[in-house]
Every structure is written in structure tokens, then in C-alpha cells.
């Protein structure tokens, strides 16, 4: 299938994803995943990672593959609201859970506040790690709200986290940005955190 550069640059492409195998294969398992509020019924080998299920079988390519070993965070998605490296977990393990990917957060005409903040503060350059950064940041803000401590937390007796830059940096250090947009990322997260606190 041929695409024009105009289509590609506008993001105006069909979803894609691999078609189900023609013949019944005994190695395949029926897997139902609930992603961004939609149910997807798949036939997958048990060894297929959640990341590959999203990208290669369902065609939700917003979730990125960076290292495929849990070191870079590009594949971060939310599973029942918790951040997970989707390359390190099998798709079959997530039946019955609520999976949220970047596609489930906001659309170009209706951005999630974190997405808008990343644009405003230029929290990315190439954009490849960005979906993972944003999903990670979203779960991180929830962790902060529930008072989870981090390695950078100085006072473990306090119920509330004092979200310093050091705290944000520590809590986001599982997401690599090789373009080095960390300052914009920290400022984006702080911005949304302040907005939420103000509400």
C-alpha cells in the first residue's frame, strides 16, 4: 500500500496491525484486551509482549519500542492506572485489566493537560520517547498524590510529597530522552502538578 508524504506528515494513515492467521494454529491463545475503553479480541502466542501486541497486532503504534528490555521507558503504558514497561510483560497476562496508551489520553484537538504542557515547554524534540514520558508522568503524579516516597524523598514521615525538581527527576529517570529534553519534561510535569494542586 502506497502512501503520500502529505498523508504521512498529517498522520492520516489507517491503523494497520497484523491480520489474524488464516488457519487455526494450536500455539495461539485467544486473548481479550481492554485498551482505551475498547475491547480487542486477538489470537496470540503466549510469548507476545504487551508492547508487540499493541504495535504489531493491534496497530496502536503510539506506544514505542526503544530497547525491549525495560531500560528506556519508551514503551510505558498504564495498566489499571499504574505505569508498566509494556516490553517486559506478556499480553496474555492482562486480560480483564484496563490498559491505557497515549492514544487514550487526548487527541490533537482535545489534548490532555500533560500533552499540552509538553508542547508548551518543548518537552521533546524527536518525539519518540514522548508517549512513554507522558504515560509515565501521568502515573507518577498519581503516585505523588497518594504520598508514595521515592529515593529523593528526604522526609519519609511526611504524608505529603514535596515535589521538588529532584523528586520529579528521580521519579522520571526510568524514561530516557536521548534528545535531552529533560528540562522541558520536568517543567511540563511541574506545570500540570501546579494546575492540579490549584484545583
Amino acid at each position: 500500500m502506497s502512501f503520500s508524504i502529505e498523508q504521512i506528515l498529517r498522520g492520516d494513515l489507517p491503523r494497520g496491525g497484523q491480520s489474524p492467521p488464516a488457519a487455526a494454529d494450536p500455539g495461539l491463545l485467544p486473548v481479550s484486551l481492554r485498551i482505551n475503553g475498547h475491547d480487542y479480541h486477538l489470537q496470540l502466542e503466549s510469548r507476545v509482549s504487551l508492547l508487540d501486541a499493541l504495535r504489531e497486532f493491534i496497530g496502536l503504534t503510539g506506544t514505542k519500542k526503544g530497547c525491549n528490555q525495560g531500560a528506556c521507558g519508551a514503551c510505558t503504558v498504564l495498566v489499571d492506572g499504574e505505569r508498566v514497561n509494556s516490553c517486559l510483560t506478556f499480553a496474555v497476562m492482562h486480560e480483564g485489566q484496563e490498559i491505557t496508551t497515549i492514544e487514550g489520553l487526548g487527541q490533537p484537538d482535545n489534548l490532555h493537560p500533560l500533552q499540552a504542557a509538553f508542547i508548551e515547554h518543548d518537552g521533546f524534540q524527536c518525539g519518540y520517547c514522548t508517549p512513554g514520558q507522558i504515560c509515565s508522568a501521568l502515573a507518577m503524579l498519581k503516585e505523588v498524590a497518594q504520598g508514595d516516597a521515592s529515593l529523593a524523598t528526604s522526609d519519609l514521615t511526611k504524608a505529603e510529597v514535596d515535589l521538588t525538581d529532584e523528586e520529579i527527576r528521580e521519579r522520571m529517570s526510568g524514561n530516557i530522552c536521548r534528545c535531552g529534553a529533560y528540562l522541558g519534561i520536568v517543567d511540563s510535569i511541574r506545570d500540570v502538578y501546579e494546575q492540579q494542586k490549584g484545583q
Binding site: 500500500m1 502506497s2 502512501f3 508524504i5 504521512i8 506528515l9 498522520g11 494513515l13 489507517p14 491503523r15 494497520g16 496491525g17 497484523q18 500455539g27 510469548r47 507476545v48 504495535r55 504489531e56 503504534t61 503510539g62 506506544t63 514505542k64 519500542k65 526503544g66 530497547c67 525491549n68 528490555q69 531500560a71 519508551a74 496508551t101 497515549i102 492514544e103 489520553l105 490533537p108 489534548l111 500533552q115 499540552a116 509538553f118 508542547i119 508548551e120 518543548d122 524534540q125 524527536c126 518525539g127 519518540y128 520517547c129 527527576r169 522520571m172 529517570s173 530516557i176 530522552c177 536521548r178 534528545c179 535531552g180 529534553a181 529533560y182 528540562l183 522541558g184 519534561i185 520536568v186
Partner: protein, 746 residues
């Protein structure tokens, strides 16, 4: 009012697609019926393949093909990237892997397995057995190979040696001198998007390749040579690129192999290089060993400057990384000696990495300048200012624009440099020793060539087209701003189409050349368009422009208006409507005129900067933390404050990684890379970095389009030296071997 988009911190035009996951990178293009390719790596560094056992792989479920050199279709040799070619190929090597039994580096692809699913291909690839006959011991150590080092014919397009006066004699006679050796290790680029290729054939001779590249036409050239196709029959698309940093300027072996595999299985094949393959099949930055010797008189004027050293290339490429270029242009001296040597190693071909040449060259030179400043008991900024050249010290032509002094002045003030006690080991907070360091930044401001087509419609929408690249550099955004100003339209009216070989030709996006090259072509194409529009208008007595000449006019308010009569003029829509036209287009090439080509020789084009940093070194553990950073850069007009700032921030970040953490380890016994993953090759992460502060002078260069220079590499240069200099100031220990890991400080 004339609109002014250039300079504004406009949000990235592709921002919305990127933050919503809608931007499709190479591996995500839904071409349909895709089969997956996985490459098998050699496990020896040098020798021949004796036999394969592919039976188990062939019988594994889902496998479509197991391609080895025994059954691979023959491809044609390709020329290695040569910067003196008019249109160089993107091939990093002359070796045609899988069309030879020769193994010339550990990790070289020796087979390709294609299967229905990725997991099937990965599993089957693990079943391929290869036996080898190892040749003589592999040559893997730059140091051990030094007796066989040679002076290459050229270094990029320059001479490998420069001799002015007699530097060795002047050094011997100088009252103050230093003479040391500095080393840098191999580094891996590690863009987070891997090198990916997705290829398919239409008929026998139409090849379509989606490739994560920063050099579309170089890839097209290589593939057309490899498969004996006319260049027009190869389409290369590279729309969204997830970081490049130089390594995506070459088409590594998987690119040709993906196209070959697609031919073998008769359907689209995708190869998404695993991270480990990114270390083995994508060339790193060379290791280097550099001698810098500086001699000065009592006032600190340089009497002798010597910068010599050795880098490595592989047995199948010739790239000598130009570490010595900085010393040819940065400081004045009557006696300069520069020499580069090269050794050949049995390793993956080396390549360009962000700020090639100057990235490692400034580490040596700018560390040495700091050492000389201590020898002279002179402030290191003052030493640099005393050696500011009136003109380029080896080209003997004026600088097109050089404001290094202003960079130091602004930076020193913002950083508070004057409060610094120069004595090493003079500041402490508990176990932390604190120090401040400074270094010059330096990078060329070269131009390449580009063609741009501009198309205006009667509704004032403008489409710019050029096959340049957007790897996060901001090109798409700043060139839309540029065209908006050239045509006097709001930037929202401009759409930039790039990243496809079907578009007008542009050079590779590397060497910080894209901004001015494409910017110059946009300027010329827009001028041509405006002149065409004016020609349409002057024909008609009813047009307010009937008697106008081009120089009387300016573009604003979606049309052409008299400079001295703000209300008199005509909109583009009106001009087109009168002619009964819906649209008009123009195309231009940059550089277009002899004037630009002559200017290229009449001036030395470079960017400058001053890097200031503070480090904390833990006395017991040797851990180094960068606690403060101020960088001030002189790279012409800033076209977009927001995207340029990100380029500077990202460059400093990469410089910090280079200084403190990054090193691609080579096992010198067999060429294995023991830290070939992102958990063991440490790139900078959010934690451990300071709130980096960057500023640009934004003084226009009178001799470049828009007065601009590229901004993507200058801030890498000098960064490692500033850190090493700060570490010396903190601890009294001079580390001349990067990276500055704790063991070197204990």
C-alpha cells in the same frame, strides 16, 4: 504591519502529532502483509564463514526464508560515503555483507531470517548455527595498532596535516608550556528509535523503502547502486525520525538486507534493529588518542600549538574523524602543527556522531588550554581572549562572524565566574569537593545544497517541499516560520512537506547545515514566487503594482505592498484571481549564485560559545555531579527561541554524558561489546542533571541566509572539557581520559 515569525518561540508544528502518538515513525507505516526480518550476528571479529546449519531455523514455525551468503541474491558493490562526491552515497562501508564469506567485525550480519511474526523470526534466528575459520588475531586496539598508523590522504575534505612556522622548536623555546595526551573512548549514538527499515518491491524494478534516515538521497543512491536500479525507481521515505545524532546519516547493512529480503520473500519486510544490534551493526564514534602541546610567552600568547593524534576506522571504511579541525581555526599562533593519523581495526565502521571532530577535539584542546592557564597562573578566560585571532589562523581569511569574547563576557557574568578562587581544591561542602570550569565551544557553520519548491494557492495556503529531514531538530517549524516571513503570511498558512525522495532534492541533515541550506533555498524560492506574482500584476494598469519594481515592495498582509506606502499594494489572492489562476509555484536551488560560492572561500564560517559549569565530586566515592551549567552561544540569528533552546539543552546533555558516563566497551580479545544495552551503556537520564541554563547572542552573520547558523551541535563542543576543567578545580586531579568515572578520581 509586516509579520515577523522568525525568532518567535513558536510551538513545534509537529508537536500535536508527537504528543498524541499519531506521528508514525518508520516501523509504524501500515503497508500491510509485512513479514519480519531478524539479523544473525557473527560471533568472531575476523575470518571466514565455513558453514551454516540453517535446518532448524528453516523448519521453525512461520519462517519464510533463511538468507545466508550461500543463497543470497547477488548485489552490486557500493561506494563508501565520500564527502568530495557531488552526491555521496550513504553507504558506511564497501563490504557487501551476505554477498561474501568474509567476516570483518564481531556482530557483522551473517544471515537474515524472515518470518510471519516478529517472535517467530527472533526464535528462528536464534536457531541458525554458523561455523567460522578465524584468521590471524583480530586487530582491536587503537593503542596496539599505533605502530602501523598512517597519515590518511585527507580528513573529510581537508589536508591531514598543517604546518605553519616551526611549532616543535617554538614549543621548546617557550617559557611556559604543557604537553599531554588526551583520550576519548568509542561512543554509541543510541537514538531511542532504533534504525528501522521497511521495504517492498513493486514489480521487478520499483523499490519503496521507509527508512529512519537523516540522508534520504544518500540511501537512495546506495540502494540504486546495490540493486542496479535507476535512482528514480527507488523511493526513500523518512518522515518522522526518532533521533538520529549522526548514525542515521549512513545506511547500515540492514538497509540493503531488508530490501534484499523483501525481494526474496516477495512481500514487504520490516527490520527493527534490536538495541543490541544498534551497538554491533551501527558504527560508533571512533576512539581517539590526541596529543596537545601548547607553548606561551609570559603574557600567555601562544607561541606554539601542536595537535596531533590517532583515530580508528574499520577495515572496510576510511573515515578519519577530524578532531584537529578546531585547532585550525580557534586560536592565533605563528607556529601551528597539526597531524592526523589513522589505524584500521577489525570493528564495525566508525561514523559521525553529534559534533563529529570538534566534539572530541575540543575536549583535548580546551583541557590543554586550562592546563596552560594554570601553568601561567592566568585566568583561563583571559588566556583565551589574549589569543583571539584577527582572522582565521590557518585559512588566513576573516571570520564571517565571530563573537567569542561576548560569549565569555555574558557567560562569566551570568555564572559569577569572577567570584571563583582559582586555587584547586579550595571549596568543599561536607564530603563534596566543588569546582568550576570553563571552555570554548566551536563548530563550523557550513552550507550544503538543497532545492525547495513553494506553492501558493488562491486561499493563501502555502506548501513548501524539500526532501530534507526532521529528526527533532525543528526544521519543519523554523522553515515554516521562514517562508511565512518571506511571503508575509501567518505561519499557520504554511505547510512543509519533507522526508520523501519524490520531493525536490536536499542534502543530508548533518553537520548543522540544514537551517541555512534549506533556509537559503526557501528564501530563493519565495523570491522567485514573488517576482512571478509581480510580473503578473504589472501587466495590468488596474493593479496598484502596475508601476512597481521588485525592490520597492515588501511581502506582508498576504500580498506585495510598497515599502513606503503601507496601504498600497495587492494581495496574492487578488493577483491570482485577476489571472484566473488557482495557484502558482516556484522552485529554487541553494546555493544559486556565484556570490555565495565565492563567499564560501572568502570567509571562515564558524559558530562559537562559552561553556561554564560547576561540579561536585564526592571525595570518598569519586562520584561527579554537574551542579550548574551556563552556556552562551554565538550561532547567528536564532530562528525559533524554543526549538533552538532545546537544541542547546540537548547538546549540553549529550556532552555531559560523553564526559561522565558514556563509553562503548570493546573486548579486545574478540571484539565483543559487553555493555551493548541501555542498562549498561549509560546515557544521561533526568536525575543527575542540573537546571542547564543556555543563552544565544543571536547576532546575525552578515554572510549567511537569514544571518543564521545551525544550532544542533555547537553546544556539545567544549562541554566535556569544561567538566574536566571543573573536576580539576574541585579535586586537583586532571583527568585526560574520558569518561571521568569514579575509579579515575580515587
Amino acid at each position: 504591519m509586516k509579520t515577523k515569525e522568525v525568532g518567535r518561540p513558536l510551538d513545534r508544528v509537529d508537536g500535536c502529532l508527537k504528543v498524541t502518538g499519531q506521528a508514525r515513525y518508520t516501523a509504524e507505516i501500515p503497508v500491510g502483509q509485512v513479514a519480519y526480518g531478524v539479523l544473525v550476528r557473527s560471533t568472531i571479529a575476523k575470518g571466514r564463514i565455513v558453514a551454516y546449519d540453517t535446518k532448524a531455523a528453516e523448519q521453525a514455525p512461520g519462517v519464510l526464508a533463511v538468507i545466508t551468503h550461500e543463497n543470497a541474491p547477488k548485489r552490486h558493490p557500493t561506494k563508501e560515503f565520500d564527502p568530495s562526491d557531488k552526491e555521496p552515497s550513504a553507504s558506511p562501508t564497501t563490504l557487501l555483507v551476505l554477498n561474501t564469506d568474509e567476516v570483518s567485525w564481531h556482530g557483522q550480519p551473517v544471515a537474515v531470517v524472515v518470518a510471519e511474526t516478529l517472535d517467530q523470526a527472533e526464535h528462528a534466528a536464534a536457531l541458525v548455527r554458523v561455523s567460522y575459520a578465524e584468521a590471524e588475531p583480530a586487530r582491536l586496539s587503537l593503542v596496539a595498532e599505533k605502530p602501523r598508523a598512517f597519515v590518511p590522504e585527507k580528513v573529510l575534505n581537508e589536508k591531514p596535516e598543517v604546518k605553519q612556522g616551526n611549532a616543535e622548536e617554538a614549543l621548546a623555546a617557550a617559557p611556559f608550556k604543557i604537553d599531554y595526551t588526551y583520550t576519548t573512548p568509542p561512543y554509541s549514538h543510541n537514538a531511542i528509535e532504533a534504525h528501522n527499515t521497511l521495504a517492498y518491491w513493486e514489480g521487478e524494478d520499483q523499490l519503496i523503502v521507509y527508512d529512519s534516515t537523516q540522508y534520504i538521497f544518500g540511501v537512495r543512491k546506495m540502494l540504486s547502486e546495490m540493486f542496479a536500479l535507476s535512482e528514480e525507481n527507488v523511493r526513500v521515505v523518512s518522515a518522522f525520525v526518532g533521533g538520529a545524532f549522526g548514525s542515521k546519516g549512513r545506511a547500515w547493512p540492514h538497509v540493503g538486507l531488508t530490501a534484499m529480503a523483501a525481494k526474496v520473500v516477495g512481500r514487504p519486510v520490516k527490520v527493527d534493529l534490536p538495541r543490541k544490534d544498534m551497538f554491533y551493526m551501527v558504527g560508533p564514534r571512533t576512539p581517539s588518542e590526541q596529543r596537545v602541546a601548547l607553548g606561551a610567552d609570559a603574557e600567555g600568547r601562544l607561541q606554539a600549538v601542536i595537535h596531533t593524534g590517532t583515530t580508528a576506522s574499520s577495515t572496510s571504511n576510511t573515515f578519519a574523524e577530524h578532531f584537529s579541525f578546531v585547532t585550525r581555526h580557534l586560536y592565533a599562533s605563528a607556529n601551528i602543527l597539526i597531524q592526523q593519523k589513522l589505524v584500521r581495526l577489525d570493528m564495525v565502521p566508525n561514523t559521525f556522531m553529534r559534533a563529529p571532530g570538534e566534539g572530541i577535539g575540543t575536549f583535548a584542546l580546551e583541557s590543554a588550554m586550562d592546563e596552560l592557564a594554570y601553568a601561567l597562573r592566568l585566568d583561563p578566560i583571559e588566556l583565551r581572549l589574549r589569543n583571539e585571532p584577527g582572522k582565521d589562523p590557518t585559512m588566513h581569511v576573516p571570520f564571517s562572524s565571530r563573537h567569542l569574547k561576548e560569549c565569555f563576557a555574558q557567560g562569566a557574568e551570568k555564572f559569577g565566574w569572577n567570584q571563583r578562587n582559582p586555587e584547586p581544591r579550595s571549596q568543599r561542602e561536607g564530603p563534596w569537593l566543588i569546582g568550576q570550569g570553563v571552555a570554548s565551544a566551536f563548530y563550523p557553520a557550513n552550507k550544503r545544497s538543497a532545492e525547495v519548491k513553494v506553492h501558493i494557492s488562491i486561499d493563501d495556503t502555502v506548501v513548501l517541499q524539500s526532501a530534507t529531514h526532521e529528526m527533532g531538530t525543528g526544521t519543519a517549524t523554523v522553515q515554516a516560520q521562514n517562508a511565512a516571513d518571506q511571503l508575509g503570511l501567518p505561519v499557520g498558512k504554511v505547510r512543509f512537506e519533507y522526508g520523501d525522495s519524490l520531493l525536490p532534492k536536499a542534502n543530508g541533515s548533518f553537520g548543522s547545515t540544514t537551517t541555512i541550506t534549506v533556509g537559503g533555498a526557501v528564501e530563493l524560492a519565495c523570491e522567485d514566487l514573488k517576482r512571478q506574482l509581480l510580473r503578473l500584476a504589472v501587466k495590468h494598469p488596474s493593479s496598484p503594482l502596475h508601476e512597481a519594481s521588485y525592490d520597492d515592495l515588501e511581502a506582508r498582509d498576504n500580498g506585495l505592498f510598497y515599502k513606503d506606502h503601507p496601504t498600497q499594494g495587492e494581495t496574492y489572492a487578488a493577483i491570482l484571481a485577476r489571472e484566473g489562476k488557482d495557484s502558482l509555484e516556484a522552485q529554487a536551488s541553494f546555493p544559486a549564485f556565484l556570490k555565495e560560492k565565492l563567499e564560501e572561500m572568502a570567509y571562515s564560517f564558524h559558530s562559537f560559545g562559552a561553556q561554564f559549569c560547576e561540579v561536585r565530586v564526592h571525595e570518598d566515592t569519586g562520584e561527579v555531579l554537574v551542579s550548574r551549567w551556563v552556556g552562551v552561544y554565538d550561532c547567528g540569528t536564532i530562528l525559533n527561541e524554543k526549538t533552538a533552546r532545546s537544541q542547546f539543552l540537548g547538546s549540553v546533555t549529550m556532552g555531559i554524558g560523553m564526559a561522565l558516563w558514556e563509553e562503548t566497551k570493546w573486548d579486545l580479545r574478540d571484539g565483543r561489546i559487553p555493555n551493548s544495552s541501555l542498562s549498561e551503556y549509560h546515557v544521561p537520564v533526568a536525575v543527575g542533571l542540573p537546571r542547564i541554563e543556555v543563552h544565544a547572542l543571536s547576532i546575525p552573520d552578515p554572510h549567511t541566509p537569514l544571518g543564521a547558523h545551525g544550532a544542533g551541535e555547537i553546544a556539545v563542543t567544549g562541554a566535556a572539557a569544561a567538566i574536566a576543567n571543573a573536576v580539576y578545580h574541585a579535586t586537583g586531579k586532571r583527568i585526560r581520559n574520558l569518561p571521568i568515572t569514579p575509579d579515575k578520581l580515587l
